[in-house]
Symmetry: C2
């Protein structure tokens, strides 16, 4: 479903937004929320690992994995390897990030899996994992037949983008949920921290938009276009 | 960007989900939250108009407007009229729904426009309105030249779907925000009301997914496919 514009300029905007988002979530969690720790008597520091790893992992590195096919000018096999390694890093960081929030809940006596954000999140990390395994088996090793590969590729792209859009949306849900907790505990609604969190979410959404635009635009290597964007 | 499957079966699923979502948001706002009113000493009843009109208006009727091009087998002019009238109804209900939440805030002494949901919402109702006006002027009356129409149609579809995806995502943000307020005020995290609200959001997201799938699938009238789905 390639639109008639080049992908490369979109990737530049996405890289800038991704860098900004990573810095913003680190400033929030380290400067405003007190830092990150896996073991601490201050259980909030365990929670703080969650937004950092989910945004940098699933959203930013996951987005880089998607864009790498369109932005890099390398042999297809090399791009495929980069694509699956980046997605693997995204999933591993995502799993550690989800583990951190369970650890925080369990050590603080907070119920698990009651919120919309958590329900969607558990669903998405599962779908992301299934998509990765399918991609690995069919497109990498041992690899499906040429027919299976060419017929399932458009659905791999469509399903992958579908999961990614929901990942970005669920990140926005997470930022809003945590900020609402903080505001209910006394944080001023127009404080610098509240504004920072809202803008971090907006930067994440814009990053997702530019990843999506990259994915539906034309590769720098025209011969790749059919194989990648035939949805 | 039509995928190689028929749109019609997707629209049936979407209609079922849309009906379910409308019933669920009405049950929540009338049975659990006490009903709807524009004038009341109980200011919560003014707020309750907001989720009902946003979900039924922008999400459900807006989705029907998008799908009408693919699901109906009528003359193109008739479908165009249905498309723009449904979107106009969606926008009008959306504006009344946003007015209700400002009225609730003003009469209850709550700050306006501090949350991520409100920022994204104000942006989206503006973009939705701009998109409608552009569509009306270029495709309906007085109508652009054939070149302008054919060149801008793919962007109209892409931008429209982009706004619609964000509308559905922002509805999820709204459900999560309101439920978090209620839970902070004592509502049990696994109460029937909390489960209902989360599932209403999930039904809304699934409705959006099926609207999107309808939009990128093949019309029942093959001759329309190029004109509608050439992104």
């Amino acid at each position: 479903m390639a639109i008639g514009v080049k992908a490369l300029p979109f990737t530049f905007v996405a890289h800038g937004l991704g860098l900004a988002g990573a810095v913003m979530v680190l400033v929030w969690c380290i400067y405003y929320l007190g830092g990150l720790a896996f073991e601490s008597t201050n259980k909030n520091l365990i929670f703080n690992i969650h937004p950092v790893l989910m945004l940098i992992g699933l959203v930013i590195i996951g987005g880089q994995a998607i864009m790498s096919y369109k932005s890099l000018t390398l042999r297809k096999e090399v791009k495929k390897l980069i694509h699956l390694v980046l997605h693997a890093i995204a999933i591993i960081l995502g799993i550690i990030g989800i583990y951190a929030v369970f650890k925080n809940h369990n050590e603080s006596g907070i119920a698990n899996l009651y919120s919309l954000h958590s329900w969607i999140g558990i669903t998405l990390i599962s779908l992301y994992g299934i998509q990765w395994i399918y991609g690995f088996v069919v497109f990498f090793f041992p690899g499906g037949s040429a027919t299976v590969r060419s017929e399932s590729l458009p659905w791999h792209v469509l399903f992958g983008l579908f999961v990614y859009v929901l990942v970005v949306g669920n990140a926005a849900l997470g930022f809003l949920e945590k900020l609402t907790f903080l505001e209910n505990s006394g944080l001023a609604k127009f404080s610098s921290e509240a504004i920072l969190v809202n803008f971090t979410a907006i930067v994440a959404i814009l990053y997702g938009v530019f990843v999506f635009l990259t994915a539906i635009s034309q590769s720098s290597q025209p011969e790749d276009d059919f194989s990648y964007s035939s949805i």
